[in-house]
Every structure is written in C-alpha cells, then in structure tokens.
Amino acid sequence: MAEPHKPTPQQRRNALLSAAVLAAMVLGIYAVFMLKVFSA
C-alpha cells in the first residue's frame, strides 16, 4: 500500500487553468450584474 498516484504536472497545470477560468466566470457574472444594477 503506497500513496495514491498523483496528478502529473501537466494535469495540475491544466486543473489550475480550468479552475481559474471557472472562477473568472463566476466573478465575472456577479461583477457585471452588480455593476449594472448599482451604477446609475
């Protein structure tokens, strides 16, 4: 019994990239919505 296999460096990079894109989507939707209703 050893450690579980770990994601390859390539997989880790891609995972971080995907997560960054998704987080940007979330923040983007919230920010655009809030800027729209709170300006003017």
Binding site: M1, P4, P9, A15, S18, A19, V26, L27, F33
Partner: protein, 535 residues
C-alpha cells in the same frame, strides 16, 4: 510516477499523522482536516441526512397543523416560517449536499482519479455548510422569528421582516460559495484527471450529469448571490430595487430569482437522472439504451432551463407574448425529458430484471417523476396556471419531482453504493420494507394535494375552508407514514456500516463502472495507486 513536488508534501501543518498513507488518522481531526474525497463525501451525506430530518420535522409540524381546519398547534406567523425554512433546508441543506456527497464519492472513482483536483478546497466547501445551517436554523430564535416569506424570498415581505432575514441572506451567500467551490472542483476533476483511455463519451452517466450540473451552478449561483445582495442593500443601505414605495419593482426580484430558480430545480434533478442511469442498466443486465442521446438530452435540458423561468410568473402581468414564449419554451423541455424516460424504459425492455432495493427505488422514481413531469406540463399551460398558481396543485407537482424524483434517486443510490462504500450488504428485507413504506406514505401524502389544488386550496396557509378537510387528513396521515419510515432507513444504514454479510467487489453483476470492476469492497482509503487504463 515521477511527479514534481505535490502540494500535499509541502503544506505547512505537518502533523505526525499527516503522512500515514495506510489509513485515516483517528478522531475528530480526521474529519476536520480531511482532504480525502471519500471522507468528505461521507460528511456531505450525513449532513444532508441531518438536514433532511430537520426539514422533515418542520414538514410534519406543518402537516399536523393542517390535519384540521382552524388553528390548533402553531401561530400563523410561525407556520409561515415553517414552510419557508422547510423549503430552504430541504433545497440547500438536504437535496443539493446529498448529490455533492455522491459526486465526491463517485466522480474520482468512476473516472479513475485518485482524488478531487483541489482536495483542500473540497474540505472548505463542506465545512462552510455548517455555519450556513446554523444561521438558517438559528434564525428561528431571534426576535421576529425565522423568515416567513416562502423559500423564494419575495419582497416586499422579505424587506420588512427582522434580523432573521439578514441571517438567511448570509446563509444563502455562504451556501452559494460552497456550491461554487464544489462545482469548480467537480468540473476541473472531470476535465483534467480522467484515467488514460477514459474519454468523455466513455464516462458513466452519473459523471456526465454532474459535469453539466456543475456548469449550471457556476452560471446561476452568482445570480442568486446578486439577488440577495440587492435584498440586503434594499434593507439596510437605502436602495429601492424591489421597494415600490421608493420607485422599485418587486416583480424584478421574481425575474432574477427564477432566472436562478428554474436552473436550480434542474440542478436538483440532473444528478438524480445520473444515478438512475447507473442503476437501471445494472439491474436490467443490459447496457444503457441510447447513451449518447442521454448526454445530449441532459445538455438540452440544461440549456433550455435558462429560458423558461417565466412559467413561475404567469400571474404577474407579463405581456401575452411573454407568457406564450415561456409556455412553449417550457413545453419544449418535455422533449429531452421524454427521450430520457424512453431510454430508461428501453433499457429495461427484454432485460433480465431483478428488483433489489436500489432498483425498486429507481423504478419508483421512473413512475412518480413522470407524474411530476406531467403535472408540470399542466402548469406550463398559461391559462391553466392562472387558476392553479399558488394552489396545492403546485405543491403536489414539486413534491413529485423533488421527493419521488430527487430523493428517491438519492435513496436508490445509497442502497446501490452502500455495499461498495462499507463492504457490507444492507438487509434486503428491511430495504424493501423501507421502499414500500416510502412509496405508500409518499403517494398518500401528496397525490391528494392535486385534488386540493384543483379545488382551489391555496398553499402556505395554516387554516382552510371546511370542504378541504378530508384530503388534508389523508395527506397528513401519509406524511407521517413517510416521515417515520425514514427512521427505518437510518437504522438500515447504521447497521450496514456496523456489520452484515460481506459485499462482493462487484456487488451487482450488471454494474460495470470502474468502482465495481477495478476496486474492492469496501474501497480502500486511497484508491488507484496507479491510474487504471480504460480500453
């Protein structure tokens, strides 16, 4: 595998036990600090069950009050708080976390990954649920009582009530953050950590439905967060978005809420479709009929779910063109939903079927969810909805899709995977008893609500006209049968964890995803020391 430094090896808190890879550390810190997807899945499922009992007690109090016309047990204001918090607890505390629990347990195993992509964020997603739950339930004890607006949080009432609303708003924000982090984790895991050979179109349907669900969550959770932020500023910071006295418009809240809310109902049903799509082929001993069409149907449902929200607002005075648009768009969803129902039935067609408890719940799902789909179609007809809106018919509809839909699928999934998770078989006799008690109790509780709604009984009221008495009494009896049979479920689960016959690795001969074919029962704490290769 010659990896570069993994975050796990370099992180700061280096407890003596942190590197014991043979098994979990003991005691509370195991659960507090765990980054193991199985531990986190287990915690989600227990949390969900606790909230299910909590929301269930509120439901039984509601049904007890409605056993007779007149006011017997609770004050009207408290009654409204009960319906509100019951809805919020069940949606955000019971159903959604249960599916996230399944995702944690199953997604890594079914795609051949060792864990989720971001195990420590996973820990956070779970632990955020606790303060949110405390805020929701604690709001009963502050001056003015818990939110009484209904789970849809409509202004103007929500703007006028006391500090419980602020607690509810904070709870919704926290739950949203948890869901968003969970979704990011699920999507990144599925997109990046699949075993060699596990192409997207080879993934089990449960993984597919969660991938799509997670995108829905990413898209609509920020919208809900925005809506409650606007409520907060209306309450405390002098804006009047929804306050007619200040030039605002309460119906705007309804548009924003349901733009979130309708995708949300699919968030609660797509993973259920995924679970049922794993179980039916296993017990029909045939591959799923129309795998690719299942994937496309799920995606179409998800996309369409963004353009139907107006069916919740046919009575607010939208232009006729708007009502018609939402009516037809809503009916369109019946097409991909019909494809799925057809595929499940075609999977069973000429299969060598057996009816163990998971299959009973899956077939129960199929029959009863379809009834809920049809009552949805009835409600989608604008002129019909104008008479049925805010009656018990709507309550009957959404309990058919959410209880005999989402919840039955959750039960089916628990019985299906419990042997894999614990290494023990549950008691088939008790499981079947639980199924039949739930099936009978549920239908006795909710089928009569169609009649009450058609006869004009409004929802969310503690008292009613005399002619509604009989069906309400029957409904209450059914609700108590259903509610108390869930204690039997608790007993079955606990005794399965404690012991029981040893479960074979491939518990169900017809089940063919990786957790059955490549992993022992119970699954070891760490799985897939080397990535499996999928042909």
């Amino acid at each position: 595998m010659s990896t570069a430094t993994h975050a796990h090896d370099t992180h700061g808190h280096d407890h003596a036990h942190a590197h014991d890879h043979h098994g979990p550390p003991a005691g509370f810190s195991r659960w507090m600090y765990t980054t193991n997807h199985k531990d986190i899945g287990t915690m989600y499922l227990w949390f969900s069950f606790a909230m299910f009992l909590m929301g269930g007690s509120m439901a039984l109090l509601i049904r007890a009050e409605l056993f007779q016309p007149g006011l017997q047990l609770v004050e009207p204001q408290f009654f409204n708080s009960l319906t509100t918090v019951h809805g919020l607890v069940m949606v955000f505390g019971a159903i959604m976390p249960a599916f996230v629990g399944f995702a944690n347990w199953l997604v890594p195993m079914q795609i051949g990954a060792a864990d989720m992509a971001f195990p420590r964020m996973n820990n956070w997603s779970f632990w955020l649920l606790i303060p949110a739950a405390l805020l929701l339930v604690g709001s009963f004890f502050v001056p003015g009582g818990a939110a009484a607006s209904g789970w849809t949080l409509y202004p103007p009432l929500i703007i006028q009530q006391g500090m419980s609303i602020d607690m509810t708003i904070l709870a919704v924000h926290i739950l949203g953050a948890s869901s968003i982090m969970g979704s990011i984790n699920i999507i990144t895991t599925i997109l990046n950590l699949r075993a060699p050979g596990m192409t997207l179109m080879k993934m089990p349907l449960f993984v597919w439905t969660w991938l799509i669900t997670a995108y829905l969550l990413i898209a609509v959770m920020p919208v809900l967060a925005g809506a409650v932020t606007m409520l907060l500023t209306d309450r405390h910071f002098g804006t009047s978005f929804f306050n007619a006295a200040g030039g605002g418009d309460p119906t705007m809240f309804m548009h924003i809420f349901w733009f979130f809310g309708h995708p949300e109902v699919y968030i609660m049903i797509l993973p259920a479709f995924g679970i049922v799509s794993q179980i039916i082929p296993a017990f029909a001993r045939k591959p799923l009929f129309g795998y690719a069409s299942m994937v496309y149907a799920t995606s179409s449902i998800a996309i369409l779910s963004f353009i139907v929200w107006g069916h919740h607002m046919f009575t607010v005075g939208m232009p006729a063109a708007g009502n018609l648009f939402f009516m037809y768009a809503t009916m369109l969803i019946a097409v991909p939903t019909g494809v799925k129902i057809f595929n499940w039935i075609a999977t069973m067609w000429k299969g060598s079927m057996t009816f163990e408890t998971p299959m009973l719940f899956a077939v129960g799902f199929l029959c009863l969810f379809t009834i809920g789909g049809f009552s949805g179609l009835v409600l989608a007809i604008t002129p019909v909805d104008i008479t049925l809106h805010n009656t018990y018919y709507v309550v009957a509809h959404f309990h058919y899709v959410l209880v005999s839909g989402a919840l039955f699928a959750i039960m089916a999934g628990i019985y299906f995977w419990l042997p894999k998770w614990t290494g023990h078989m549950y008691s088939e006799g008790l499981g079947k008893l639980h199924f039949w008690l739930s099936m009978i109790g549920f239908n006795v509780a909710f089928f009569p609500q169609h009649f009450l709604g058609l006869a004009g009984m409004p929802r969310r009221i503690p008292d009613y006209a005399l002619q509604f008495t009989e069906w309400n009494q029957i409904s209450t009896v059914g609700a108590f049968i259903f509610g108390f049979s869930q204690l039997l479920f608790l007993y079955i689960v606990i005794s399965t964890i404690r012991g029981g016959a040893k479960a074979p690795d491939r518990t169900w001969e017809g089940a063919d995803s990786l957790e059955w074919t490549h992993l022992p029962s119970p699954v070891p704490y760490h799985t897939f020391e080397t990535a499996p290769v999928v042909k």
